[in-house]
């Protein structure tokens, strides 16, 4: 049984009796993305790995969210990645705000690799990332750029797509 992120969030918030913080919500979103995205079968071996590249703003929230929550029948694992080379072995890669300048290089390196790239760097999706997180009226919302996802062989659920703002890559920027 998957103890859900919501349960975790509610438990946590009940414990401190406060609404969840921005990054707690974002951690929950990462777990939900995992549920609405389908990876190509050759990537279906071993642990389901969530990697954080660059600055880690989650604190303990990310580990707590994935702790004990497998994805698609596989145990999950959260890793902080010191090097870009390790990124290709993850299923979800969260790119911290600190990597904004390296972004073109990172995305170029992962192009065609079945790694779901998520980041809260502004304009992430338009710049060739797959899912970009943003704040809208104090709520976390997301943009999806279907092109790189399709290129990498990832299938995004329509449930996911209908909640997202759909964008496309804008090379000119």
């Amino acid at each position: 049984v998957h103890a859900s992120f919501l349960a975790a969030v509610i438990l946590a918030s009940a414990a401190i009796s406060q609404p969840p913080t921005e990054y707690e919500v974002k951690a929950a979103f990462l777990l939900n993305f995992a549920r609405f995205v389908e990876w190509p079968p050759e990537k279906g071996q071993g642990s389901f790995v969530v990697g954080v590249l660059g600055e880690d703003s989650f604190g303990p929230a990310l580990d707590r969210t994935f702790e004990g929550n497998g994805v698609a029948g596989r145990p999950s694992e959260v890793r902080r990645l010191p090097r870009l080379e390790d990124a290709s072995r993850t299923q979800i890669l969260f790119i911290g705000k600190s990597e904004e300048r390296r972004l073109p290089a990172i995305l170029a390196a992962l192009r065609g690799t079945p790694v779901l790239t998520v980041s809260d760097i502004p304009g992430f999706a338009e710049r060739g990332g797959m899912i970009g997180l943003r704040l809208e009226e104090r709520r976390v919302r997301f943009d999806i750029n279907p092109e790189p996802a399709a290129e990498s062989g990832l299938k995004l659920s329509s449930q996911l797509l209908k909640l997202a703002r759909i964008v496309s890559t804008k090379e000119a920027r």
């Binding site: 049984v1 998957h2 919501l6 349960a7 709520r139 449930q159 909640l163």
Partner: protein, 516 residues
């Protein structure tokens, strides 16, 4: 109802049967359909709403997970197209209101918190309320609440009812029209039949016939009726002939009877004449009989006196002149004495016998048991030392003259005693036999010499003896006396025996009345 129905014509009956049958069929079909439809409407509405709920739940799954309330709201907004759902609300897994939809003018405010999680449905007034869980990957992540109006369902029910009523009226009309048609086919031949039958019975006209009807039962009835009329006509002719023949025979028979009657009348006068003659002869005979009896009585009586003289003087002669007589003289004297004694006994018996027919009977209740014991005791006194085994059963009480019955028993028992004289160990039994024509039967059985049944009719005659006087002493009057006493008591006496086998004598007597 039944009486009223019985008074109707066949045509009306057929019409009513048609109406009743079709309206009953329609009513039962309508009720079954209505019940079925009512249940079906409800069930289909509930099923449809559950499907709605499931679809909305599926569509709002991601919105719930990503906490996207506007997205959930817009999904719920699609319910505007649904005719009867006027309110919907999605709750998160803690039961807090997440998104809602209210049809314009519906006046529905979703509760901010929902405690139940379903699945459940209930009817509230004119609404169906339905609660279903929203499940994702085996877990409940929220709850959906739907409220639907039942107005459409009611409208459908009313439409259904109207269709049913209209169909019923049309069907009844058609049934009536049809029954009009076929009732004519059935009732017209029957009416013709009834009219003809009335004519036949009123005018006694056996020659009329009913016009033939179809090949159904009514047709058969008409045919059978015509055949019956033909038979009646034939019978009438036969009857007339028979009546004529009968009259002739009655006349003949009357003449015969008159002749017979005449003969019988003649025979009756002849019989009357003969009876008159017989009565005359009978009274003559009775008078003669009485004379003879009186004569024999007086003779016996008168004989006694000289006999006493003979006996007395024989005794005197023996006592006083015995020395003067030689041996031959003494033997003669004893022969004379014996003869006189026997004659005396004979006279006594004759007197007793004639007394049995002359004496007045005094009837009373007589217990036979003690009487028999009394007689046995008396016989024992005169037995001269002979031992006899007596067996006396439980004897009844009878109605009769005590003295005569005693004489009767004395004669019967003495008889038995006498004829067992040759046997060393004799046995005599007195008992009760099976009743004879309502009379008590008493028998006396001995194991003596018995007699040949060929001579049974001679047993009870006066001076009739089956044995020689030298063998058994006796006057031949005893059983005659018994028979006379039994006859005077209205009973009968009979015997059964075989030589050397003993004899049994039966007498039947009137049993004592319960009152006496």
């Amino acid at each position: 109802m039944r009486r009223w129905f019985g008074g109707q014509s066949i045509g009306a009956k057929l019409m009513w049967i048609a109406i009743l049958a079709s309206s009953t069929a329609l009513a039962s079909a309508g009720i079954v359909l209505a019940v079925h439809e009512a249940r079906y409407f409800r069930q289909s509405l509930v099923r449809r709403l559950h499907i709605h709920a499931e679809m909305i739940g599926f569509n709002t799954t991601s919105a719930l997970l990503f906490r996207d309330e506007p997205a959930a709201g817009s999904i719920l907004g699609a319910l505007k197209a649904s005719g009867d759902v006027y309110g919907a609300a999605v709750y998160d897994e803690n039961g807090r209101l997440f998104a809602a939809f209210t049809a314009p003018g519906a006046g529905f405010t979703p509760p901010p918190v929902l405690a139940e999680s379903g699945p459940a449905e209930r009817f509230e007034g004119d609404s169906l309320v339905l609660v279903d869980p929203i499940v994702f990957e085996g877990r409940r992540i929220g709850t959906i609440l739907l409220r639907a109006s039942l107005a459409q369902m009611h409208r459908q029910r009313w439409e259904f009812a109207w269709v049913l009523i209209v169909v019923s009226i049309v069907a009844l009309g058609v049934a009536l029209l049809m029954s009009r048609g076929y009732q004519r086919d059935i009732s017209r031949p029957i009416q013709a039949l009834a009219a003809t039958a009335r004519r036949v019975s009123e005018e006694r006209d056996g020659a009329v016939r009913v016009p033939a009807a179809g090949r159904d039962e009514v047709g058969e009835l008409v045919e059978a009726f015509n055949e019956m009329l033909a038979q009646i006509q034939r019978r009438d002719v036969q009857l007339e002939e028979a009546v004529h023949g009968l009259e002739r025979r009655v006349q003949e028979r009357t003449i015969d009877l008159e002749r017979e009657l005449e003969e019988r009348r003649r025979a009756e006068t002849e019989i009357a004449r003969l009876i008159g003659e017989n009565e005359l002869r009978l009274s003559e005979l009775t008078a003669l009989n009485r004379e003879i009896e009186a004569f024999s009585y007086s003779v016996s009586h008168d004989l006694r006196a000289p006999l006493r003289h003979i006996s007395g003087f024989v005794e005197l002669l023996r006592k006083q002149s015995a020395q003067a007589l030689d041996e031959k003289g003494l033997r003669y004297l004893s022969v004379i004495g014996d003869g006189a004694r026997r004659m005396g006994r004979l006279i006594d018996d004759l007197l007793a016998f004639s007394r049995t027919s002359r004496t007045e009977m005094v009837e009373s209740r007589v217990e036979l048991g003690p009487l028999v014991q009394d007689v046995i005791a008396e016989i024992g006194r005169d037995a001269g030392g002979r031992e006899v085994g007596w067996t006396v059963g439980a004897l009844p009480a009878v109605t009769g003259d005590r003295a005569m019955l005693r004489v009767m028993l004395m004669n019967l028992l003495a008889n038995a005693f006498k004829y067992t004289g040759k046997s060393a160990s004799a046995h005599i039994e007195v008992g009760v036999g099976p009743a004879d024509d309502g009379r008590a039967v008493v028998f006396v059985r001995d194991d003596g010499v018995g007699f040949d049944m060929r001579f049974a009719d001679k047993l009870f005659g006066v001076f009739q003896r089956l044995h020689k006087a030298e063998e058994f002493e006796g006057t031949g009057i005893g059983l005659a006396t018994v028979q006379r006493i039994v006859h005077r008591h209205g009973g009968r006496v009979w015997a059964q025996s075989a030589p050397g086998q003993g004899a049994t004598f039966f007498v039947s007597l009137r049993p004592a009345d319960a009152s006496t």
